[in-house]
Symmetry: C2
Subunit: 130 residues, 2 copies
């Protein structure tokens, strides 16, 4: 079924929320999601995050930098130890983006359902009694 | 503040939900998010989706294939027209993943707040009256 709706806003959509690119890109990798999930349990130094991962410390640091660049986590250094923690805002923005689209889509489905119901009622009431 | 929590599950986390990689990767691109947002308004043929985008039809088709591979949309061909529509399941999975992590993180914050409150109460009740 094709519903024709104005698409004039499509081009404008490309210009906004550049940070969502970084957030979704950061979440698209299983190592980065695993690091994020570990940090949900509590703040942790980079060395502890790296321990269970089958990769070099340098690779882990790169993943952490991508998470930090996306605003999903923050890090701070005390002496020689860099500790990571969750930054909730970026994740909340991604969640909001998804939830709003899901909500709009569900409302459209509801509207379509109502239209079909109305059409069915109109058809029934227009029928000649047998 | 660093909280030491067992990280034994970190390695296992890398093995599950491979499709989340595809969903988040698909959403990490503004053109693909724009196409998805357009489809939230209603099903549309590829040619209509391509119209407002400053790129070749082949490039748009590639974006659509990535969205379809991630399970975010489905397409069907009638004659020479390929029409696209939203597939809600993959988006819901991504939303659930994010919501669960946010929920866990918020609960941890609540627990920390309770521990701090208890410590404060204990300190107050142990104080000698002046």
């Amino acid at each position: 079924m094709t519903i024709c709706v104005a698409t004039s806003t499509l081009k404008h959509m490309l210009d906004y929320q550049p940070s969502l690119n970084d957030v979704f890109h950061a979440l698209a990798d299983p190592t980065r999601r695993a690091i994020f999930e570990r940090l949900v349990e509590g703040d942790a130094p980079v060395s502890e995050l790296a321990k269970p991962l089958a990769m070099s410390l340098a690779a882990v640091v790169q993943h952490i930098q991508i998470l930090e660049h996306a605003g999903l986590i923050a890090t701070h250094k005390t002496g020689r130890v860099r500790t990571c923690r969750i930054e909730p805002r970026a994740l909340r923005e991604a969640e909001t983006w998804i939830a709003q689209r899901r909500d709009l889509w569900e409302r459209r489905l509801d509207r379509l359902g109502e239209i079909l119901d109305e059409q069915q009622s109109a058809t029934s009431s227009n029928k000649e009694p047998t």
